[in-house]
């Protein structure tokens, strides 16, 4: 009974949905980009690095020009830079994409922490923009329609990515490259170029996402600002079965669960924090377990392509 009361209280507070939305936005930006990258056949482990770089870039950009848009631009550029390294080492120089990703994670973590102590980065916040009528909706109104303005891009993100991958020639080629690079190559497509471009797209969205978490949530850069959420985004793609819809569901789910983690202490209920901390991951594992037979990965995922081999 106590539990139901507790849940009832938590779920009826606006704050939960706000924070769920905020976190979901982060996951969605990372997850959508990673989804494209994985459909192109590359397992991009450096999402964490891209997000963190985006966060740092946003703070840095805002330092240079005190507009929040400068922060966004800075974040995107930083994300793209990381993507540039990941893309070219993995798909031009055929280095092991795994090692590159892990190394980038360590590099960006260390570098941003190091630079943050050397350079003084002030606060950076984007203004909240409320949509007039809709923000009044009970419970979810504030969460969905009265957010810092960069958040609204998420409504464009998913349809844009969907359209890009399923309605354009570029998307068709990206999909073919992830399934059967040999056939794509013979058909005249530059396999590695498409893979690099997919990673760059991921860098762009992750850079944006990282920027958002600074500008729209925390308000300044901290080296622990991402804290493993990049990996959760990768998990979302996998457990979404490499479909966009599944990825979106995963990202929203993770956002919600993490928000619960944060909300329950605030409400004064003492559910053991351990349960809340492990909840997202256990949920992820459980979902993958349940839907495992439907999971079908892009056939050429994580297999480097060099013409003339196999």
């Amino acid at each position: 009974m106590e539990l139901f009361n507790a849940l009832g209280d938590i779920f009826s507070s606006d704050a939960l949905y706000v924070s769920a939305f905020q976190l979901s936005v982060l996951f969605l930006f990372a997850g959508a980009g990673e989804w494209v990258a994985e459909r192109a056949g590359t397992l991009n482990i450096s999402v964490e690095a891209m997000l963190l770089a985006g966060a740092f870039g946003a703070a840095a950009g805002h330092e240079i020009v005190a507009w929040s848009i400068a922060g966004l631009v800075g974040g995107c550029i930083a994300g793209l830079l990381i993507a540039l390294i990941q893309a070219n080492l993995s798909h031009r120089l055929t280095a092991n994409q795994f090692v590159v990703g892990l190394a980038l994670n360590v590099l960006v973590l260390g570098l941003t922490a190091f630079l943050a102590t050397e350079i003084d980065l002030g606060p950076a916040r984007a203004e909240v923009v409320s949509v007039p009528a809709l923000s009044g909706i009970p419970l979810v109104g504030e969460a969905l329609f009265a957010r810092p303005w960069p958040a609204y891009f998420v409504y464009l993100l998913v349809p844009a990515v969907w359209w890009l991958v399923f309605r354009t020639r570029w998307g068709l080629e990206v999909r073919s490259v992830g399934e059967n690079p040999q056939s794509a190559d013979v058909s005249g497509i530059d396999v590695n170029a498409r893979r690099r471009q997919a990673i760059m797209l991921c860098g762009l969205t992750c850079g944006f996402g990282g920027a958002f978490i600074v500008l729209g949530q925390v308000g300044q850069f901290q080296s622990s600002i991402i804290n493993g959420r990049g990996f959760i985004a990768i998990a979302a793609v996998i457990f979404g079965g490499w479909t966009l819809r599944g990825t979106v569901i995963g990202c929203v789910l993770f956002g919600l669960v993490e928000a619960l983690t944060l909300a329950t202490p605030v409400q004064g209920y003492r559910i053991d924090p351990v349960i809340l901390d492990v909840a997202p991951y256990v949920v992820a594992i459980a979902v993958v377990l349940l839907f495992a037979t439907r999971v079908r990965q892009p056939r050429a995922l994580a297999q480097p392509f060099v013409r003339g081999l196999t």
Partner: protein
Amino acid sequence: MSQTAGVTSSPEGGTPAVRVHELTKRYGDVIACDGVSIELRCGEIHGVLGENGAGKSTLMKMLIGLVQPDQGTIAIRGRTVRIDDPRRAAELGIGMVHQHFSLVDELRVWENVVLGERGRLDPRAARQLVADIGERYGLTVDPNARVGDLSAGRRQRVEIVKCLRRDPSIVIFDEPTSVLTPGESEQLFDVLRLAVEREGKAVALVSHKLDEIRRATDVVTILRRGRVVDSMPTADAQANSLAQAMVGRPVSLRSEAAALGIAKANGEGRPSPLRNPPPSELRSTGSAGSASARKTSPALEIRGAVALRSDGSTMLDGVDIVVWPGEIVGVAGVEGNGQAELADVLANLLPLDRGTVVVSGHLVETGHAGVMGASGVALIPEDRHDAGCVLDLSVADNLHLSKLASGAGLGRIDRAQMRADAVRLIEEYGISCIGPDAPFRSLSGGNQQRVVLARELSSDPVVLVAAQPTRGLDVGAIEFMSDRLRATADAGVGVLLISSELEEILHLSDRIVVMHRGRIVGEVRSGEADIERIGLLMGGAVV
């Protein structure tokens, strides 16, 4: 090289669509193409005949931009060109219908057809395009179907449509009939004739099958060991001289027919097998290897084999096959009708959902690692690289693979013994390699197949399953393999031969069964084999 004479006129007057002059390609010490000169003319089907390894594939890869020549020139419509990549080839009006590697299974037909083009993606226009070309050439196929769901024959149609959508003036067909029933092959040749006569294209048909070349082409050029041996109008060519030119020595059309791709006339087959007892009841005897067991029960008996995919669709739909010791049973059928799955069952790779597999009177559990091998089932797989060998290991390692699973895990591998065994087998099977430690990868296709054969036969099997055993091999290697299969059967082993090459089936089998959509749809004795009927059965007709 004799001049091509008496060819039909081309719209551009005397200029050939393609003139290849002294084209040479070396791979290290091996010369794949040696000063090849050839001319393709519009309105003409030009056959390029040669056994596997003769250089036909390399020549075509150069024309399509996948490989760059070391020497020589290519002239398209009189202008010398460099073909850097497939896109450039397409711009020049050269199209190729590939055997593999050109379709993406997960995409739809229309998506595959427009893959690689430039410009906006227009699904409706693409679907219309597929329908139009289909109608023009008699190659209808559903634009919205997922390519992976289509049969091999349909997939080839998609390949052809994809090739023709750019309206190339030069079309190359690379071994197109390997996935077709005889009836479908005829339809294909009609398409070729149409392309050439009505559309005025220049068509090249690359093949290792004599019959095909003689039936479908106007001019034939024979390649051997990378060189052009001869070139002449097909009408003037004798089967015998073609065969001899192809192989380089006098040939017996009768005994080497299968290798040369000559379908047999009725009645010629191998002598009746050692035993031909009527199917008897199962008798469970003692050890599988005892002589009495071998003689009184079938070597292999598959009853009601059903295998389903995870989505419920059937791969094997109630297969019944019996193989007696000493006989060769040929499973004819176009690729993609369950043959690969059947072989996988016999290779422990696929468990059955229903049905039984009985080897020498003993029931064998399917899908469990190593069980088939332990029961005496040897397998030459369809694609040796898939489950038949480990490319990155040595020849000796590969020869040892069947013994790897037995014995204590933490025991030392007796490498000296392994080597000695390997040396013996290399000698016995005439495997050409540097030595037992040579990387398996470095062997030629024929030699790799010999290694597989050596390993499988050395385990003293009761049943030998040979899936597409001579695919990609040259005539000599095909001969060797065929002889070995016969010898194995003569020694009392039951041989199950699965092949999509009808000539091979006809030539080697005592009994022929036809497989279609995962079931056995018909059976004939070799002596009474009627190619037409078999062809119809292969295509699914009820006869």
